[in-house]
Symmetry: C2
Subunit: 141 residues, 2 copies
Amino acid sequence: MSMERQDLRKAGLKVTLPRLKVLEILEVSDHRHMSAEDVYKALLDTGEEIGLATVYRVLTQFEGAGLVSRLSIDGGHAVFELEDGAHHDHLLCVKCNRIEEFMDEVIEERQHAIAKEKGFQMTEHSLYIYGICKQCQKDNN
Amino acid sequence: MSMERQDLRKAGLKVTLPRLKVLEILEVSDHRHMSAEDVYKALLDTGEEIGLATVYRVLTQFEGAGLVSRLSIDGGHAVFELEDGAHHDHLLCVKCNRIEEFMDEVIEERQHAIAKEKGFQMTEHSLYIYGICKQCQKDNN
DNA sequence: ATGTATGCAAAACATTTGCACCTGG
DNA sequence: CCAGGTGCAAATGTTTTGCATACAT
């Protein structure tokens, strides 16, 4: 019994082929961050006949179950990543769309302090740093 | 000659009625943060016959001209605010959608430091803190 | 068996665009 | 006058949904 099956059961989700396959794609893909469309294409590449609507549904369920996190890049385009339990924020390359992760305790603390100052009971936060990655600076593209 | 006319000319934009009206709405509205739809409805309320497509075009031009900034809230919904030259980030109430602003030097510095560490030439960043505002905690809604 | 999940096509949503007409300078 | 701006409707891109069928337990 593979780990993935247990993950799904634990999440209260029936173990179905589309769910297993989507999970597998997320695990084996070279890219840690994938859009629903990316996952859909990857499934087609492996010969799976799974509808795009199902990919969206499955990813949304996975998000609810805490198996993946959804990032909202520049308004109107979401990408998903396998949840590893460790909170982190993202750096995005505006040229090649590479996504890197980071975590900074100082920023985390300041955010809590600011919410408190403003009388907000903080629920979450989203931080994206945009820039040109090392590779793209070198390639000058 | 009103201030708004000069703003538009300085931005290289012809002074047209739709542009003046949109700018006026942004200036006189109770809400500092408005979506294109909000602006459109406010225009209708004042009896102006301006198309939604034009509102989008005008707001996008204003953004390009530096007259307004566009915020991308939770992926797939943009709001605009008059640009006042002072950079700031946002706190959003998940209950009542109130938007508050803040600016934290420590966070700004850390972001630059992180980009540098990762070899990124930082172009911009977006930071949103979500939570429940003081009023909504009191009202318990 | 039976309640869920899936596939497909259509709907929804925010935003953009093509094009004929109108307007500001 | 004429480049640029506008209104309308249609197109866009992403995500969601309705419904009949298929599947997991």
